[in-house]
């Protein structure tokens, strides 16, 4: 019995629900040394800004129990080099390419969104609202409902491509933010970004990351992410990309049951560079063993 893995999610035609997550999949080309990336549903680029950004000093990463901390500082090559140098190498491939983007002001977000809207080969946009706001004492955009509403509405006006908003988990009530994004015109949600964290070297009494604080990712955050996907699923009708600590095909199904229409794989790409391909290959067998012929039957099918 063939199992269906295809789906149209907010206008994106995915051949399977497995995507590489932003900041862990580069600009796509890197994984070509391991496998032909057209076997996966798609991937999300590293966060892009108007101008290239140097990012934070090292150390930027460290091991954490069941995962890792990172403080890359949104280092990226900027939208021009992405469009001129990276995109041409992958845009003819049969997979969905989603551009993750951010700005330091609402105006910058709007400018990047409108530029990306014109780019052939970028199928969808993912707004990273976990970025410090220059006009609000460096607090991240996604920490305030009002600012989230302002920035999503403003970007919505300048793009007709599918627009996903990637929510920060560092809030008290994520469902409220999900609803705000839906009401402001988002086509979908990406849930979740990294959890804010920190680690200390007790001998030197110094923080391990040069940036002091970083984002926690990997299997350690999976229960939090599953819970947040479920809360968002109950709050909105728009589709959700489930993200956070996925490392095996059972995790994929867990997120789908919680309400994810597709999933993104982050840090696990570092450990097993072929993980996205492996998951896409293993999913049909697992679904079959669960007696499911179309994965869409499982979206939000949690039995409570």
């Amino acid at each position: 019995m063939p199992v269906n893995l295809a789906n149209n999610i907010a206008g994106l035609n995915l051949k399977n629900p497995i995507l590489g997550a932003s900041g862990t999949f580069g600009y796509g080309t890197l994984y070509e040394r391991f496998y032909d990336i057209s076997v996966i549903g798609g991937f999300v680029t590293k966060a892009l800004s108007l101008k290239p950004r140097a990012g934070n000093p090292a150390p930027r990463i460290c091991e954490a129990p069941g995962g890792m901390l990172n403080a890359i500082g949104l280092q990226n090559i900027g939208i021009d080099r992405f469009v001129n140098q990276k995109l041409p190498k992958i845009k003819d491939k049969d997979l969905v390419i989603i551009a993750n983007f951010f700005g330091e002001t609402v105006d910058e977000y709007v400018e990047v969104a409108s530029r990306l809207n014109e780019v052939d080969g970028v199928h969808g946009l993912e707004m990273n609202i976990s970025c410090p706001n220059r006009n609000n004492e460096g607090l991240v955009f996604g920490a305030s409902c009002q600012i989230t509403e302002d920035v999503v509405k403003a970007c919505r006006k300048v793009t007709n491509k599918p627009l996903f908003v990637k929510l920060s988990p560092n809030v008290a009530d994520i469902a409220k933010f999900a609803k705000v994004c839906e009401d402001s015109g988002a086509d979908g949600l990406s849930v979740i970004n990294t959890l804010s964290g920190m680690a200390i070297d007790i001998r030197s009494r110094k923080p391990i990351l040069a940036n002091v604080m970083g984002g926690l990712s990997g299997p350690a955050i999976k229960p939090v992410a599953v819970r947040m996907v479920w809360q968002c699923y109950r709050a909105v009708k728009i589709p959700i990309f489930g993200i956070g600590g996925i490392s095996c095909v059972e995790d994929v199904v867990e997120f789908i049951l919680a309400g994810a229409s597709a999933v993104q794989i982050g840090s696990m790409n570092f450990v097993e560079p072929e993980i996205c391909k492996t998951l896409a290959e293993e999913l049909p067998d697992l679904l079959e063993s669960l007696g499911v012929s179309d994965y869409r039957e499982l979206i939000g099918a949690l039995d409570v």
Partner: protein, 255 residues
């Protein structure tokens, strides 16, 4: 790539040697390049650990790692026994490249930093003289001095407690030899960062080409996480050590 553990040999102190046989030969193994090693099949630890290639077979059918136990990942590796399986990916990164026409090469190593020089000297081509400066805290931690001598290298040792060779840091015999008028065509160095920094300064002061092998913390090893960065000298931008290095010309990067 799964490898079969052939040997796990204690080397003294907290050092050990792992001899590995990949299920299929691995191409492009070279001194200075490294593997990302999975220390456990669970998520503890989660990330792979970077380990330099030590000795290796030219056809890629076997290679060794020289490991120092410093934390959880390396202590798990120390418990491997023959016939265990271990999963590695790689090799990644740049290698120590002997410049064309070089006749004399000095290598300065500290701790497990001796690893790449085992393979380098085993597979040396042409008519190159090798001198290896080995430094450690105490004689017990001076590993591979005899083996390097057997392979024809001149080995000069230094220990901080004076228990073997010169008393002091490994840079002292290096400076002495330079002051006596000898001068190599190139210096390679691998080991603790303060040692490499000192070696690079000395080489530059004497106008000698020097290659360093940086050991930044790495999550992926192949350029995807952008976590392992360093600065190019005189530039504001960061570059990834795993893919642009780990072996750099000393004047290229800030050490």
């Amino acid at each position: 790539m799964d490898c079969i553990v052939r040997v796990n040999e204690e080397l003294g102190g907290d050092f050990f040697y792992l001899g590995l046989e990949p299920l299929e030969p691995i191409a492009d193994i070279r001194p200075g390049r490294f593997f990302m090693v999975r220390c456990s099949q669970s998520a503890d630890p989660f990330l792979r650990r970077p380990m330099s290639v030590a000795d290796y077979k030219k056809d890629g059918s076997g290679f060794g790692l020289v490991v120092q136990t410093v934390g959880w990942g390396t202590s798990l590796l120390s418990t491997l026994v023959p016939w265990d399986r271990i999963d590695v990916i790689g090799p990644f990164g740049t290698n120590f490249e002997v410049p064309d026409g070089a006749r004399s090469l000095w290598a300065v190593a500290g701790g497990s930093g001796v690893a790449p020089f085992l393979g380098l000297i085993d597979h040396a081509e042409g008519d190159v003289d090798h001198t290896v400066f080995l430094g450690a805290r105490t004689s017990e931690l001076l590993i591979y001095a005899d083996r390097l001598k057997e392979r024809g290298a001149c080995v000069i040792t230094a220990t901080e407690d004076g228990s073997s060779g010169e008393h002091g840091l490994v840079t002292e015999p290096l400076v002495k030899k330079l002051d006596s008028g000898e001068k190599p065509d190139v210096i390679f160095t691998c080991g603790p960062t303060p040692m490499m920094r000192a070696v690079a300064r000395i080489a530059e002061a004497h106008g000698i080409k020097c290659s360093v092998s940086l050991e930044n913390r790495m999550a992926c090893g192949f350029g995807a996480c952008v976590g392992c960065v360093t600065k190019k000298r005189g530039e504001e931008n960061y570059i990834t050590v795993c893919s642009r290095g780990p072996v750099f010309d000393s004047f290229e990067v800030e050490i």
